[in-house]
């Protein structure tokens, strides 16, 4: 359990950094998430309690609005630091309504899997043996744990799960990679989990998560369930052909853009420096003409 919480805190901290760094890029996601969550809240006839599974620091959860609308809010995550941050950001009158639970929101699946996997690493005499025994466990072939029945305090008239269910297997994977590395001094291959069927395990856990949500919501209540269903653009392994397409797209975009407002001052400086680097002598090439044209527009 401790190992799972450590990984949760580390990934939570990374997530918080990305949130700050890519604030503008995340804006659509944050606004849509908040809007949909409030829409669901508006459909709850008896707004007595809301349970938020894996909300972390609640950066995409309208926590204050929910705390005003509902009598009680349970915020549950494995990342204690971010839970505390979420509470601290609330006005005092809302803070009193929010209770935090540092717990595994998978309903015990992640805890069970980490426990068994760490035991495999601990007992193994070699990295090969450990990898061989971990493979079926993370492929879902030898993992039939039912998890545990969550605390009845989690039952609520509104249950929220936002981009959690498809991430549940990541925490055990990271925890085991760390333990493996610590014991054997080498890392599992990057695609170890994928190659061994982690896609199947993830799918199974998402299905179970749906059942967990249903078991937690009280009669007449509502569930908000959102998750990532596809990743894009996933083309790195397609090599130079895909890269050429992107470079062409960049050139088309820049050709139509008003560059003086596209770039920040720091950006203009960097781009100008790049244009000035290593231009070949002799007759002006088409690329050189393009560079001079772009430079003029800056």
């Amino acid at each position: 359990m401790t190992r799972l919480f450590e990984i949760g805190a580390a990934l939570g901290a990374e997530h918080a950094q990305d949130r700050e760094r890519f604030r503008a890029h995340w804006d659509v996601h944050v606004r849509n998430s908040r809007r949909m969550i409030l829409e669901g809240a508006g459909r709850v006839a008896s707004p007595d309690s809301v349970t938020i599974l894996g909300g972390g620091s609640a950066w995409n959860i309208p926590l204050e609005e929910l705390a005003r609308q509902f009598d009680h809010v349970s915020l549950i995550d494995i990342d204690a630091d971010n839970l505390q941050k979420a509470i601290s950001a609330l006005p005092a009158e809302c803070r009193a309504k929010v209770e935090i639970h540092v717990a595994d929101v998978s309903g015990g699946l992640a805890t069970d899997l980490v426990g068994r996997a760490l035991e495999v690493v601990e007992m193994a005499n070699s990295a090969e043996q450990a990898a061989g025994d971990l493979a079926p466990l993370f492929g879902g072939r030898e993992f039939e744990a039912g998890g545990s029945i969550p605390n009845s305090d989690w039952n609520a008239s509104y249950v929220i799960s936002s981009c959690v269910s498809s991430q549940l297997t990541i925490f055990p994977e990271k925890a085991v990679m760390k333990a493996f590395n610590e014991k054997f001094g080498g890392e599992l291959e990057d695609d170890f989990f994928l190659k061994n069927g982690s896609f199947r395990l993830r799918t199974d856990w998402v299905r179970r998560h749906g059942e967990l949500l249903s078991s937690l919501v009280t009669d007449g209540g509502r569930v908000y369930w959102a998750d990532t269903v596809a990743e894009t653009p996933y083309l790195a392994e397609f090599g130079s052909e895909a890269l050429s397409v992107v470079i062409d797209a960049v050139v088309r975009f820049l050709d139509q853009a008003y560059l003086k407002t596209l770039f920040t001052d720091a950006g203009k400086q960097v781009v100008t420096e790049r244009f000035n680097q290593g231009l070949p002598g002799g007759r002006m090439s088409q690329a050189e003409q393009k560079r001079r044209y772009m430079r003029g527009r800056l």
Binding site: V28, W225, V229, E231, T232, P233, Y234, V245, A266
Partner: protein, 87 residues
């Protein structure tokens, strides 16, 4: 260095720029969009006891713009639903 995610491009224009690249990559390579969940739709995972209510929503979440422009992924399609218990 890709110039994105480094405050070299005006934030709103950078979102527009990265979105454009993603759409172009998907237009030219339909398999650029990889499912995270089998079937690619969250609705396939609803238990029989929960049914959708109201309009669902879907959107693109640019989680890491650098990953998008280097074609490594890290942008996600999100499905969102409000559900109620079936009678």
């Amino acid at each position: 260095m890709t110039l994105v995610g480094e405050n070299f491009i005006a934030p709103n224009r950078e979102v527009e720029f990265v979105t454009y690249i993603i759409k172009e990559a998907e237009r030219m390579f339909p398999n650029a969009r990889q499912p995270i969940l089998e079937g690619g739709k969250l609705s396939q995972y609803f238990p029989a006891s929960l049914v959708p209510e109201g309009e669902p929503a879907s959107w693109l979440w640019i989680n890491d713009p650098e990953g998008a422009v280097t074609l490594e992924g890290y942008s996600y399609y999100v499905d969102a639903y409000v559900l109620r218990k079936s009678v």
